[in-house]
């Protein structure tokens, strides 16, 4: 009995270590939380273009085409890091529709940002009050979603995407 009591801390230690190890090696990453939206329909949204407020995009417009949705802002420095990759995606996968949502940004800043660093998006939607991000469950910028032809979210990534993520996780889905 006494031995068992003394063994308890070792057993607890083992359990904690096994779960922590499982967490670490499973590739789970706080940057990539399991999304409740994964494999679900894309939330309905409607947004006007950054360049022409009369031009509207909504959920129906992206039906029947593979769409990569990226939430970005001019004030977000990690967005700057991933930005050039979208040009690469555009070049390699011209069939993929690139939709950028400009998140809580003054439109002048957003325009200047896309002027300086270039605009890789097919459409830049305005999400000035962050409501669309809320629908998507965005944790922080940047966040990227891949939507298939049926309008289901098949991939989500938090933080700047990298070449590895593009090659190993996004491209196999294209």
């Amino acid at each position: 009995m006494n031995r068992i009591i003394i063994l308890t801390p070792l057993i607890i230690l083992l359990i904690i270590c096994i779960f922590s190890l499982a967490y670490l090696v499973s590739g789970k990453d706080p940057h990539k939380p399991p999304s409740a939206l994964l494999n679900k329909d894309v939330p309905s949204f409607e947004s006007s273009s950054l360049y022409d407020s009369k031009e509207i995009i909504n959920t129906i417009d992206i039906k029947n085409k593979k769409t990569l949705i990226n939430f970005f802002a001019s004030w977000c420095s990690p967005c700057k890091i991933e930005h050039p990759l979208f040009f690469e995606i555009r070049k390699k996968h011209p069939e993929l529709y690139l939709l950028g949502f400009n998140h809580k940004d003054p439109s002048s800043d957003a325009k200047k940002y896309l002027e300086d660093d270039g605009n890789p998006y097919d459409f830049v939607g305005v999400d000035a009050d962050g409501l669309i991000a809320l629908e998507f469950g965005v944790f922080g910028l940047p966040e990227t979603y891949l939507i298939n032809e049926d309008g289901k979210i098949i991939f989500k990534f938090m933080g700047p995407i990298t070449k590895d993520v593009l090659k190993n996780e996004i491209e196999p889905l294209l």
């Binding site: 063994l7 230690l13 904690i16 270590c17 922590s20 967490y23 670490l24 090696v25 399991p34 420095s77």
Partner: protein, 620 residues
């Protein structure tokens, strides 16, 4: 250059520790030389740390770590604190503090040489583990491959004087448990006498005092910097610091009470291992990036794995030794229905249960995510409804524990205490009846006042009052408990009786806060060295002549493009009036005013605990 010196001295220090570890078996060096090497390794580690600091001070952006975390525009104090405001630097600080503890421990006289050497060997072992961790996964001396003239800046939220000193003090607490751990393990191996218990007492009290100060500073920072009006959020990182704190509290008390009892000795060793394990586990959770908060700098799986390995080795080693070796047989435990020893045992059990409850709440989300692939968060409601009720009987017991007897069930002057408790209960009941009765409010206030009253009765009836240092050393435990009582009153009032008011205001508007007229004077923007400040100026209590100006607003940091909220707080002895400036809409500013009663009691209580901890360290 300084980076090179820093890296080399770090590696040399690890080498020396390796030498120290194997010296016993291979080189047979003399004790005196052994200690000299310990000190040399400590100095080299400190040299490494100060080299990094030097790179920060001169804004040497050829160091990748400095480039990532500093900016030449930053005020000097934040350049210095930037040294530990990032993962790599903070781990180097961790190692430096470990070295400082070994350094001082090597100077202790009047202890058995073999025991001292064994303790220092275990410290050397820890040094190697953490040193390798830094060199292999978190090297702060990497060279920047780009030529740059400017750095990327330090997270603005960390640019705060409170936060500049919070990490070193907190680490002094965490890492202090390393020496307690080493002493306990050495005590198990070197099973000759109980001398190690008295040595461990002082070091565990030092660690606990630092930990208390560090947690309080972090909490105080959260209170005025985060702008949420609260000072404790049951954030995982706070829980991580609370676990070794509670376990450390149990350890300090057990060490005070132990008189060679076999069961207590085992228990003390268990707690010593537990405290340091929890510190390392906390480091793992934060540094692996499993928990995301203001404290997790970067997520990197290799770092996580490495620290998990260290945690496994250290804790596994500790508990394995604990399992295999038994302390020397000696006195049995003198347990009675209610005497000092039984009170201690009950309190210890409660504290360990509280620690485990917090541990469960903290790792539960990890377990669930591994099993279910769902992310959940365990927050305030769980901890409030589990940890607090577990702690309450402990607090109740604490008020009378110092006056309990060792040998009998009798409490000296028990009538006085009973009378005091009854009068107090009635008084608090009447007071809470007039102030919207609230169960938690009633329990908390009664508990706080009871602890203070009982401790005061104990001081007055047991000792002759003198104003000498010795007298304060004798009544020190009671003073510490009065500090706890004050903190409980502060915690209860500020959480149960707080009030929140919302306003939409134009400049020049007057409004009422707790019956006092307040004028929203104006909005001002100014340019500071490294940020732009927006401030709303308020005049409190304009009808009386005692004008109090309060400034609340936001800072915008252009380098990192971040906005931080700066709360304006008017401190009064019985309440804090806490102003938060929100956004502007249609020319009106949203202003939130929180009235937090008796917050100052929390800080005063903690201060008393820290001071009495320091007095305890000086007592033989």
């Amino acid at each position: 250059m300084s980076s090179l010196i820093g890296f080399l001295s770090l590696v040399f220090a690890i080498g020396i520790n390796l030498y120290l570890l194997i010296s016993k078996y291979l080189f047979k060096i003399k004790n005196k030389r052994f200690k000299l090497f310990v000190r040399l390794s400590s100095l080299l580690t400190l040299l490494s740390f100060f080299s990094l600091m030097c790179a920060y001070v001169v804004s040497d952006f050829s160091n990748y770590n400095v480039f990532q975390n500093s900016h030449s525009n930053k005020p000097m104090i934040y350049k210095i604190s930037g040294t530990w405001g990032n993962h790599e630097g903070s781990m180097l600080l961790w190692l430096s503090i470990l070295s400082i503890y070994s350094f001082f421990f090597s100077f202790i006289k009047n202890i058995e040489d073999n025991f001292q050497r064994l303790t220092l060997n275990i410290q050397a072992f820890l040094h190697i583990l953490f040193g390798l961790f830094i060199v292999l996964t978190s090297n702060p001396f990497l060279v920047n491959s780009l030529f740059v003239e400017e750095g990327l800046g330090l997270n603005p939220i960390l640019q705060d004087p409170g936060l500049a000193v919070h990490p070193p003090i907190l680490y002094a607490g965490y890492v202090g448990y390393s020496i307690v751990f080493s002493i306990a393990i050495a005590g198990l191996f070197h099973n000759k006498d109980d001398e190690w218990l008295y040595i461990a007492k002082r070091w565990s009290l030092i660690s606990w005092t630092f930990l208390t100060g560090g947690i309080a500073l972090g909490s105080y920072w959260a209170y005025y910097e985060l702008g949420w009006g609260g000072w404790w959020f049951w954030d995982p990182v706070e829980n991580i610091s609370l676990m070794p704190w509670i376990a450390g509290l149990a350890l300090v008390h057990s060490l005070m009470m132990v008189r060679g009892e076999q069961a207590l000795k085992r228990w003390i060793i268990f707690l010593s291992i537990l405290c340091f394990s929890l510190s390392v586990f906390g480091t793992f959770l934060v540094r692996s990036g499993i928990l995301t908060s203001v404290h997790s700098f970067a997520a990197d799986a290799s770092r996580g794995l490495f620290i998990l390995l260290i945690f496994f080795i250290v804790t596994g080693f500790g508990f394995l030794v604990f399992l295999l070796k038994e302390p020397k047989k000696s006195n049995p435990l003198n347990l009675l229905f209610i005497n000092k020893v039984s009170a201690l045992v009950i309190n210890n059990i409660l504290m360990v249960i509280a620690t485990l409850t917090i541990l469960l709440g903290t790792i539960y989300p990890i377990i669930i995510e591994v099993l279910n692939n769902k992310r959940i968060s365990v927050g305030g409601p769980y901890f409030n409804s589990t940890v607090i009720p577990i702690m309450i009987p402990g607090f109740l017991l604490m008020s009378i524990a110092p006056v309990l007897s060792w040998q009998t069930n009798k409490i000296k002057d028990s009538k006085k205490y009973a009378l005091g408790f009854i009068i107090l209960s009635v008084a608090v009941l009447i007071q809470s009846y007039f102030l919207d009765f609230n169960t938690w409010g009633f329990v908390g206030l009664l508990l706080g006042f009871w602890i203070i009253t009982a401790s005061t009765i104990a001081i007055l009836s047991s000792y002759k009052i003198k104003f000498s240092i010795k007298f304060f050393q004798i009544i020190n435990p009671h003073i510490a408990h009065i500090g706890v009582g004050l903190a409980i009153i502060g915690i209860t009032c500020s959480s149960v009786f707080k009030n929140e008011l919302d306003f939409n205001l134009n400049e020049g508007d007057e409004f009422n806060v707790i019956g006092k007229k307040v004028l929203f004077e104006k909005i001002e923007t100014t340019n500071e060295i490294n940020f732009q400040a927006l401030r709303g100026k308020f005049l409190f209590d304009i009808e009386k002549n005692r004008l109090n100006q309060i400034e609340a607003g936001k800072n915008y940091y252009p380098v990192s493009k971040m906005i931080t909220s700066e709360a304006g707080i008017l401190h009064q002895w019985n309440r804090d009036i806490y102003f938060i400036l929100g956004d502007q809409k249609d020319n009106e500013w949203f202003v939130k005013v929180l009235i937090n009663p008796f917050v100052s009691f929390i800080w005063l209580g903690v201060l008393i605990m820290v001071v009495s901890g320091l007095i305890g360290v000086t007592r033989r």
